[in-house]
Amino acid sequence: MDNGPTLNLMNGALAFLPILVLLVALLGFKWSAPKAGAASWATVVLLALATFGADTNSISISSTKGLSLSFFVVSIIWTSVLLYNVVDKQGGIKVIGETMTRLVGDPLAQALVVGWAFSGFMQGVAGFGVPVAVVAPLLVLMGFSPVRAAAIVLVGHAWAVSFGSMGSSYYTIQLVTGIEGSVVGPHMAMLFALPIVLTGFAVAHIQGGLSSVKRGAPAILVIGGSMALFVWISASVGIPQLASIIPGLVGAGVGWLVSKTPLIGKPEGHGNKVSEHSEDAKPAKSDVESAVGVGNNFHLAFLPYYLVIGLSILSQIPAIKSATSGIFFALDYPALETALGFKVDSAQNYAKIALFKHPAPLILTSLALSYLIYLVSNRWRPGTLNVAIKLTYNQSISTTVGICTMVMMAVIMTDTGMTALLGRAIAAGTGAAFPVFSPYIGVLGTFMTGSNTNSNVMFGALQMESAGALGISSVTIASIQSIGGSLGSAIAPAKVLVGTSIVGLSGRENEVMRRTIPYCLGIVLLVGIQAWVFLTFFD
């Protein structure tokens, strides 16, 4: 929106102040996301009132819009974490993980199947640090050193974050940019092909250096190609919330098949990094009780996720779509105008949560059906739901407050013209090279907040403003913002901390980050160059 105050040094610097406060709070003072978000919300409110022409009414409306967006995202987080906890308490996560472990023997194949493909699947169904929390210990169980295990899963799951957590980051980039999912989804999926394959090569390099890269190259291209294809198919046929789940499963399946073929060469003797594996480190057979819970049955363990996949596909059937299209929760917001003349259009059905389209109702329905099936088949462990709800509540409080404060801050910045000013400043500063730098802005957001979703909220509108000012494709820029945010998960302290704490490396986060940072920044550079080439020669 080309309106409001003209960019100058003073208002550009003031517009950057809330982000600077967030950066200093998170990185300088090492505050948690809720605390840093609170500080930046307070900063943006004071700035908006004092210098950007807002009043208490417009601040209230923008804050409420921020809470509407937060509710849209947080509802996905709460339900997906609840589903994960229920499956875990039923003994399912252990069975799923151990089944994966038993199926693949070669360490490189294990790194690719479990650390790359399966972690992407876990990001699809749960996200929010769960892949790191679940897969890193599995890799240690398989015989990987803790540092290597944490680094593999941090880099390995990074391809799946944007479409992960039932698509929460993807839905957010749609909401903040106003680009239809049918447009940005397939485009983002296409641009994701390169980083998907590159994260596979990075995982192989972390696992066994250049020798693993060489012997794994054909397999990585086959697995990565399959995953990239299914990301694109999922995004194109209208099931973007499954665009990490399905490719993750496909990748794990293809990886398993490939591990049985000569596509993955033999390890070069015992002198390489494979030697950290030993037979003693092989996982024990499942000790999950078979009398209650899901026992050792993979399909029973996987039932809730089968149902999520099935319901998501059902929800795309046109008859069901049209029959349920009128059932949704959304709020309308009026147009706003600051005293400096910055105008924001009114918004109808803002952050719409449709009953049979939004992931949260689908997850809750699959949870209810799973409960009934487990109950009827005497598989339900009494007390599971109570424990899972309490756990989910305790796990999600900080994330929720962090998202609410940061999203409110981001919307106030957008509605008062600060984001527009920043966008113009970045566009003026980088010029034609902006597409190369654009994904790093996404990385920055995830690095600061530990969340691709938060990154998209914070910087999505800013990226659009920059693209608009430079006259380049907003769809490509929105896509690489989210891709950068996705890849930033490999180096986000919040996620690294999850990985290090769960594999017993607390206090040694630097060792893990030293491993992941070069891969992350290198892959993001190639993503930026890819976007620049696309925009320059093909758009």
Binding site: A38, T56, I59, S60, I61, I397, V401
Partner: protein
């Protein structure tokens, strides 16, 4: 004085409760006094978040 863990829960519930009140005061009723009060409640919740996290 409640513990910081309790205060974090209070922040969450105050924000959740204040959300509909903010909407009603600022959008539905367009009442300046009610809006200022609900915004002040949100500011108080944010201040508690700053302390408790």
């Amino acid at each position: 004085m409640p513990s910081k863990v309790k205060l974090r829960q209070v922040v969450l519930w105050v924000m959740a409760t204040d959300f509909p009140l903010l909407y009603v005061s600022a959008v539905s009723l367009e009442n300046a006094v009610f809006t200022t009060v609900t915004l002040a409640v949100m500011a108080a919740a944010v201040a508690v978040a700053l302390y408790s996290y």
